[in-house]
């Protein structure tokens, strides 16, 4: 809850801050003083609120006797109760909304750059985004690997007879197995998919491991399992 934080509750603020909230809309800086608003007993309101949620509050002789502090504590307790009830309410069903969004998005797919396939006549093309999707899926089949970025571009090779491509793929990996072997497995999987699934001529595959994946889970809140590079 919100009052587990250190509000600006120091009691050394001047008494004139009682109207701080009213002034706050006129002076943004006045918001800083809001937590120091004083009760008629001289204690900051924020202090009474903190006591409402701490064991020390019940043992404080002043708080248990002072009607102003008690009112502040009871007020916060009632608000907390209602907040818990509101928080416990079921979230709205977003399924139909999600379907509408996905349909709208699919209707404006970004195709991006086109890549020349390695067909005999060299006149077939595939969108980079579509090719990347196939190559990512191939990389995902390597145990403990999840592909993130995958870029495919024509290689700058003046001596090549036909157009060839370079793949740069970044992956998140678990640390339960040696990285080198799995990076090689990713490279082989990507090459295999490029040649046999797409029919795309690929000369180089750059594999970059730039995030660590939790070994036990591969989904959920990324902040706990994926450390950025």
């Amino acid at each position: 809850m919100a009052l587990d934080d250190p509000h600006p509750t120091s009691s050394d603020k001047p008494a004139g801050v009682h109207a701080a909230a009213a002034e706050a809309s006129l002076h943004p800086d006045a918001e800083l003083l809001a937590g120091a608003e004083l009760l008629p007993c001289g204690r900051p309101l924020g202090h009474a609120w903190q006591q409402a949620r701490s064991a020390a509050g019940a043992a404080d002789p002043h708080s248990s006797r002072c009607p102003h502090c008690r009112e502040a504590i009871e007020g916060l307790t009632a608000l907390d109760r209602a907040t818990r009830a509101l928080r416990a309410e079921e979230q709205p069903d977003g399924h139909s909304l999600a379907t509408r969004v996905i349909n709208a998005v699919r209707s404006e797919v970004r195709l991006g750059t086109k890549l020349l396939l390695d067909d005999p006549d060299h006149d077939l093309r595939i969108a980079e985004s579509a090719a990347a999707k196939v190559l990512r899926r191939a990389a995902d089949t390597v145990p403990g690997i999840r592909a993130a970025s995958c870029r495919v571009a024509a290689a700058k090779d003046d001596h090549a007879v036909h157009v060839v491509h370079v793949v740069v793929i970044t992956v998140a990996a678990t640390l339960d197995q040696p990285l080198r072997g799995r990076a090689e497995a990713v490279r082989q999987a990507v090459l295999h998919a490029a040649e046999h699934v797409l029919g795309l001529a690929v000369t180089t595959v750059d594999v970059e491991v730039n995030a660590v994946l939790g070994a036990s889970r591969v989904h959920g809140d990324e902040r706990h399992e994926l450390s950025e590079r």
Binding site: A98, V134, A147
Partner: protein, 212 residues
């Protein structure tokens, strides 16, 4: 780690995984569904609409709840969240991943909601919000209905708060965001967020007086 290699096969070193390529559509969708937000957002930013679809399904209910608490009705909330997702899809290539996808979406939805509120002609004020009919100043509401009534009263009181206060309170108390995240969402300092939270709490406490 960076492993740049040429494709020449190494004799006897076929490290290709056993199952290539991946199986049917269902299997693919299940595999994508297990990815975390960071990986999905990167994929989506490169045009992978399947990855974006997973993000949309994963976050739509929570964002709809946010928009509903900010706007007060389902229709406006759905419009705001739908616009926010489509805007996010178009802007994903510019998404720098300095914040999580979730926080980024909170920011886009919040901005949409604030824009909607600014266009509304007459915002409610605390004085104009009637007390719920179930409330009798001399007796507590029946226990069985008390929880629902208190939640309904709080929902109504929220709509009487100024939008900036309402946003901070909802993000903190109903969605559990940290001050730093709220500051990022609303584009203010943490100190400003703390001040707004304090004022919001005080106003709501006053509005909830009948439930003490």
């Amino acid at each position: 780690m960076r492993n740049r290699t040429d494709p020449s096969p190494q004799p006897g070193a076929d490290l290709r995984p056993a199952a290539l390529p991946v199986g049917g559509v269902t299997t693919e969708q299940e595999a994508v569904g297990t990815l975390n937000d960071s990986v999905l957002a990167i994929r989506a930013s490169e045009g992978d609409e399947d990855a974006f679809a997973v993000l949309v399904r994963r976050h739509s209910s929570r964002l709809l709840a946010l928009a509903q608490h900010l706007l007060g009705n389902r229709a406006d909330a759905e419009d705001a969240v739908q616009d926010a997702f489509i805007s996010a899809w178009r802007r994903l290539p510019e998404f720098r991943h300095s914040a999580s996808f979730s926080t980024w979406m909170y920011r886009i939805v919040t901005n949409r909601c604030l824009n909607t509120l600014r266009r509304r002609p007459h915002p409610l004020s605390l004085d104009t919000v009637p007390e719920p009919a179930a409330v009798d100043a001399n007796s507590s509401p029946p226990k069985a209905a008390e929880t629902d009534a208190a939640a309904a009263a709080l929902t109504q009181a929220l709509l009487a708060l100024g939008p900036e206060l309402r946003v901070c309170w909802v993000l903190r108390e109903l969605h559990g965001l940290h001050y730093e995240e709220i500051a990022h969402v609303v584009g203010s300092s943490e100190q400003t967020v703390r001040g707004r939270l304090f004022r919001a709490r005080r106003a709501l406490m006053e509005a909830m007086r009948p439930w003490r």
